[in-house]
């Protein structure tokens, strides 16, 4: 099974440290998200992993084989889609894919089959004879994905694949990425659109100023950040937002909630209630007991989950180098 490991990676450009001691790993079938502000070191890390750049120290391995020292051997197992790349003028979509298939050393019927497969997979069939330069942004991204897949790589590196895409194209791209993961490819993807990553990623690394500030599954990172935020709110005597769901309607719901001194703000949508109350777990437990005691059939009572965007905003400071 394909295993990708980034091990204590450093990359310096003169006095600037673009990547500082970055480590993470993921395996086949996983979509690993790489999140960070502009200039955080995402693209540099991805380029090193793809064998296009050389680290100042550290290593990246694909199944134990270094992509730095054995770049020539590993390159063909990697598909890389950069965030910004040009296309060739006066070439059709089919010719473009055929060219890269040739460059990867695929010959004859194997090449035809590979091109047909990616055209089919990326739904480019109707555009085969269109000039590459006439494609829309979304179609060009699909073509870029097709190019990265034409040699059937084990590891796929996608740098900002959803940048500039409309909502429909983003949804379709997400579906393609999930499908590829199900086919057993290891996928590293970076994006500014955190909602997209949250939906498709099994694990993420958040990077700022070249350093990884958090890594793990999306759920673990969110839990950890949420616990930290709640602790901080409790110590500061602040409130948290709690989501409450009722098993059945209650005629006096608004009055019951208004009479509770612990509750600061309330929003009621039928059986769903969002309220703000003390961050102290004991105070919340007491509130829950009182609400049940006054006849509310509470089926769910929990602090609201943080989104990946909230987590990202909490963990990073927006500093750039």
């Amino acid at each position: 099974m394909t295993e990708v490991r980034i091990d204590r990676l450093w990359r310096r450009f003169g006095a600037t440290t673009a990547v500082a001691d970055v480590s993470f790993e993921f395996t086949a079938g996983q979509v690993f998200g790489f999140i960070g502000p502009n200039g955080a070191g995402k693209t540099t890390t991805m380029r090193i992993l793809a064998g296009l750049d050389e680290p100042s120290a550290g290593d990246c391995t694909l199944d134990g084989r270094s992509t730095v020292q054995d770049a020539d051997l590993v390159a063909r197992r990697i598909g890389y889609m950069p965030d910004d790349y040009g296309t060739y003028p006066h070439m059709t979509v089919a010719e473009y894919l055929d060219f890269f298939a040739r460059a990867y050393g695929l010959g004859g019927d194997r090449r035809d089959a590979a091109v047909a497969d990616v055209v089919d997979f990326c739904q480019l069939g109707d555009l085969r004879e269109k000039l590459v330069t006439s494609l829309s942004k979304g179609m060009r991204q699909r073509l870029g994905l097709g190019r990265a897949l034409v040699h059937d790589p084990d590891l796929l590196i996608l740098d900002e694949p959803a940048a500039g895409l409309d909502p429909r194209a983003r949804v379709e791209l997400r579906q393609l990425i999930r499908l590829l993961a199900r086919q057993g490819k290891a996928i590293l993807v970076s994006s500014h659109i955190l909602a997209d990553l949250e939906e498709i990623c099994d694990a993420v690394a958040i990077i700022e100023l070249g350093r990884v500030v958090a890594t793990g599954t999306v759920r673990d990172i969110k839990r950890s950040v949420q616990a930290r935020l709640e602790d901080a709110a409790r110590e500061a005597g602040e409130h948290v937002v709690v989501e409450v769901r009722l098993a059945r309607p209650h005629a006096e719901l608004a009055r019951v909630l208004a009479e509770e001194p612990e509750i600061a703000n309330v929003e009621i949508h039928d059986e769903r209630v969002t309220l703000t109350c003390s961050a102290d777990p004991d105070a919340r437990a007491a509130l829950l007991a009182r609400l049940i005691g006054r006849g509310l059939a509470v089926s769910h009572f929990a602090a609201r989950d943080k989104s990946l965007e909230d987590v990202f905003m909490h963990l990073t400071e927006g500093r750039v180098q």
């Binding site: 050389e54 770049a71 390159a75 060219f99 460059a103």
Partner: protein, 484 residues
Amino acid sequence: MTTADAPAAVVTRRPGIVRRLLDRANPVLVRYVRQQLRSRAFIVVFSLVLAIATLCALSVAGQVSLGDTGAAPALLGLLSATWTFAVWVFEPVSVFRAVARERDDNTWDLLRLTGLSPGRFLRGIMLASVLQGLLYMAAIAPFFMMAYLLRGIDLVTVALALVLIPVAGWCASAGAIGLACLGYTKGLRTALTALVAVTCGIIWFMSLTMWLNFEHIGFAFVFFGIGEDGVFIALDFAVFWVATCLVLGAALLRHPSANRATGPRVLAFLIPLDVAVVAFASDPLASHELFGVTGIVAGLCAFVLGIFAVAEDFAVTPRQARDTARMRWFQLPVLFAPGGARGRVAFAVLSALAVVFGALSEQDDVLAVTLGLASYAAIVMALGDLVGRRLYRSTVTTPFGRRVATVIVLAVLTFLAVAGMGLGPKSPLGLLSPLPGLWLLGDRGSDYVAIVLVPGVVAWITMIAFGARQTLTRDPHAGAPGGR
């Protein structure tokens, strides 16, 4: 995503020979030809060449009667002027832009990932240029034959034009490809585009004098002094010029951490070998003496290779460290400094060959010149080491900056040497720089050779000392934060 799902009939079909040949063709060649055949610029230029050639032929045919000996050279001149614009100006600029655009648009990175070597990429562009040159030739050849049939020019002249014009164009294209690899930044590549366009334009414009007076000048200039051998020497030179441009260009495009010196090293040995063969086989050069010519060429190659080795990277990269660790024999060359270790061994062998050939020569000044070349090459390399590893290491951090710094130091030395020679044409100050120095050595070798040899030997010792020190303290990750 695999061929496993492909229909069985497709998999088992035997491809035809044309298909198999096309499969093996250079992918860049296939792509570039496809692109160019659709490119508006190519279609316009090709159509213009064809239209102008037709107009010239029709107007000459309409005005002259058979046996008018002045019309044929005039027609040949006009046709050549038209044709040379396409292959001496348009083609070189096109291939330059093709290579430069690949790097400007970051598509070169995508190609690198496919495992396509820089050499194969450049050969693909070059072959496409050759194919297009042949396309122009096919279009213009019937008009050349018409000029021949008008009488007044011989078949040799027509054949020479049909061979030399495209060959010169391919040389120009190869030079443009080499230059396109030189630009590290987009701005520099833009400036180089202008340089290529202007230079090719000026050469074409100057050639118009010959084409428009073809009746009087013809190809006679080719034969002045060198006879028929000159054509073969010119073709031989063209082959090595194209090879040199492509090999050096590919070395520049190769990843900085990869071994970039193999091609240049092989070429540096092939050039003196070729010169020896040509000198042996060719009457005019044979009269000059085989050993002397070969020795000096070997020395020049060692000199160029030495500069190239200096221009390589100065620190051991992880890939080079791996090579060093895997191959025991590689440890010894590292003594001359790690960056371009094997290139430097080749340089040492070539220097030795130059001196041996110089010693075998019957003329004393040849030995002085070859000794001087070996010394100057060692001095330039040691100077490069000083600049790259010592003086500017902390202030000039990029390889490109170090190369510029080395060239500046050499330029200053050359200026001092030339200024010194202003004091007197044979002033020893001229020895400060290789060019006037070699002239002085050729002129009065016995007086000056010792002056050049001493710093040459010191340079060798310096290089070995640097190399030994770096070898003993070698740590490829030293200096990197968090390095192992």
